[in-house]
């Protein structure tokens, strides 16, 4: 563990902030850090760029984090975990809710390497679409219809011709990922899909076992990004 200073806090709105550190990590999209707010808790957060995390206020620590003051020192373990594997071909990014954070980082990365990137971005409401700028041109849906099409991520995915993509990247709530998982399996394209999973983590470094999934893999080390074919649901 080491500590970094928070350089800037971009408050997207009441519930979302991007926290920028005073240093960049040698990180790849999909990797995460264990971020320790002294006095509160240590939590896993996906990197939304080489020097930032993007946080949604859901619990005590994240509520504190979205309002944290620049200059505060926080503890960091990482970058940790297995990143997305880039493609030089055609990429499809499927982002749902705060799951967009690591994918926004991936998008920037793929812009240098991929032949073409298509992006699907869905959330509950316009207020949850904080990465619109990062993704640029993309297909958007909100459940309440406040922006883009009214609908879910599934509506957008079902209407895509998935055969044309060399690699598909997905991140979002587990219920969304499970739905996508089943769909991709039906289509028989699961080997071309990478998903970033989320689990409660105690150590983040592969020893405690609290983030183990059905096949015995650790989300913190073998994940959080798994090839869809390696996931057992």
């Amino acid at each position: 563990m080491f500590t970094v200073k928070i350089e800037e806090v971009i408050e997207h709105n009441e519930r979302y902030s991007t926290i920028i550190f005073d240093r960049s990590f040698r990180a790849y999209p999909g990797q995460f850090i264990m971020l320790h707010v002294f006095g509160l808790e240590e939590i896993p957060l996906s990197l939304s760029s080489e020097n930032s995390v993007t946080v949604k206020a859901v619990g005590e620590t994240t509520r504190y984090l979205v309002k944290i003051k620049p200059g505060t020192r926080v503890g960091v373990k990482g970058p940790l975990g297995n990143p997305f594997s880039p493609t030089s071909g055609k990429a499809l990014i499927i982002a749902a809710g705060i799951g967009a954070a690591p994918l926004a980082f991936l998008q920037k990365f793929l812009e240098k390497y991929a032949e073409e990137i298509s992006t699907i971005y869905a959330a509950r409401s316009y207020d949850d679409l904080i990465f619109l700028e990062s993704f640029g041109e993309c297909r958007v849906a909100t459940e309440d219809g406040s922006y883009g099409e009214q609908g879910t991520v599934f509506d957008l995915v079902y209407s895509e011709d998935l055969e044309e993509y060399d690699r598909i990247y997905a991140c979002g709530p587990e219920i969304v990922l499970r739905g996508l998982y089943n769909y991709f399996k039906e289509l028989g394209i699961e080997k071309r899909v990478e998903m970033s999973l989320e689990r409660y983590m105690k150590c983040g470094i592969g020893v405690c076992g609290s983030c183990v999934i059905g096949n015995g893999m650790r989300v913190c080390v073998e994940g959080p990004v798994f090839n869809c074919a390696d996931i057992v649901w």
């Binding site: 500590t3 264990m34 320790h36 983590m201 105690k202 592969g206 020893v207 183990v212 096949n215």
Partner: protein, 297 residues
């Protein structure tokens, strides 16, 4: 078959190699125990008590240059729920269930929930729990009573895991007198780390237990002393990272070793250790069990 060079037997528990997954490491779910059992000699589940224990809030684990310091706080779903989980264990290696409690009765009660266990390890040594672990394990009389009670409640081998923060021989002897089938030495050693920039202890519990290579010489000394003074077999634990460490523990008197923190480096650690030990056994042309205690005069 060369793997047979690694076979050991501890208190009637036959293992294909002396590498036992330590308790508290990747042992909360049957899925990971199944995976690790592919190569391990035996696996030990995370410590379980009668009731659910929440444990400490994060951070509970911090690594440093010579090992790991943790204060997870014996978080556990409780015996009933955990027994449900462990029923899904279908690994090929013996499953040892680690048990904690605050009284002989509690220890005994927990074991009754795990009739499918191949053996039990009594946690008398976790250094960061208020009611359990070292709190009960530092009193030799209580240790003797706990072992006695558990031995009455089960006919499976019972191993007492002891701490280097107390007189290890005194507590080991008490366990032996209580009827323990083996001693596991050692658990993590009391320690802590402070972040110098924020000027705060890093673990939420302030202090925890040190594991990893840092504590290996301490563990070797405990195993050595226990081997000199006790009759029952000893399982070494503390900082096993390379095959050399396994050999060193066995020479000191261990019949087998537990591996834990090394998983921080790789989930394949047990596989690598196993392969290296086969190469070593072939090189020196002997069965590993011949090493047990061989460094004693």
């Amino acid at each position: 078959m060369e793997e047979s060079l690694l076979e050991v037997e501890v208190a009637g528990l036959k293992m294909r190699n002396p590498l036992i997954l330590a308790s508290g490491i990747l042992g909360s779910y049957a899925s990971s125990l199944n995976r690790i059992s592919e190569h391990a000699g035996a696996v030990i589940s995370k410590s379980v008590g009668v009731e659910e224990v929440e444990g400490y809030k994060n951070p509970v684990v911090v690594n440093y240059s010579h090992g790991i310091i943790n204060a997870v706080g014996l978080s556990s779903p409780g015996a009933v729920k955990f027994a449900e989980e462990l029923k899904a264990y279908k690994g090929s290696a013996p499953l040892i269930v680690s048990v904690f409690g605050s009284s002989p009765e509690e220890f005994a009660k927990v074991t009754s929930h795990f009739p499918f266990a191949s053996a039990f390890e009594l946690n008398l040594s976790c250094p960061h729990s208020e009611k359990y672990g070292l709190t009960v394990g530092s009193d030799p009389d209580l240790v003797k009573e706990i072992v006695k009670k558990v031995k009455k409640a089960t006919n499976k081998p019972v191993f007492a895991k002891v701490s280097a923060n107390v007189d290890v021989v005194e507590v080991g002897k008490a366990a032996e007198e209580g009827g323990a089938d083996g001693i596991v030495a050692i658990n993590t050693v009391k320690g802590m780390r402070i972040d110098i920039f924020t000027k705060k202890p890093i673990l939420s519990n302030i202090s925890g237990g040190v594991s990893g290579s840092a504590i290996k010489p301490i563990a070797i000394k405990c195993v050595w002393d226990l081997y000199e003074e006790l009759e029952i077999p000893i399982i070494g634990s503390g900082g096993v990272t390379t095959w050399r460490d396994v050999v060193e523990f066995m020479l000191a008197g261990a019949s087998a070793v537990e591996v834990g923190s090394v998983m921080y480096y790789s989930l394949r650690a047990i596989y690598s250790l196993k392969e290296s030990l086969i190469a070593y056994a072939r090189m020196v042309n002997c069965k590993l069990e011949e090493l047990i205690g061989a460094a004693h005069g």
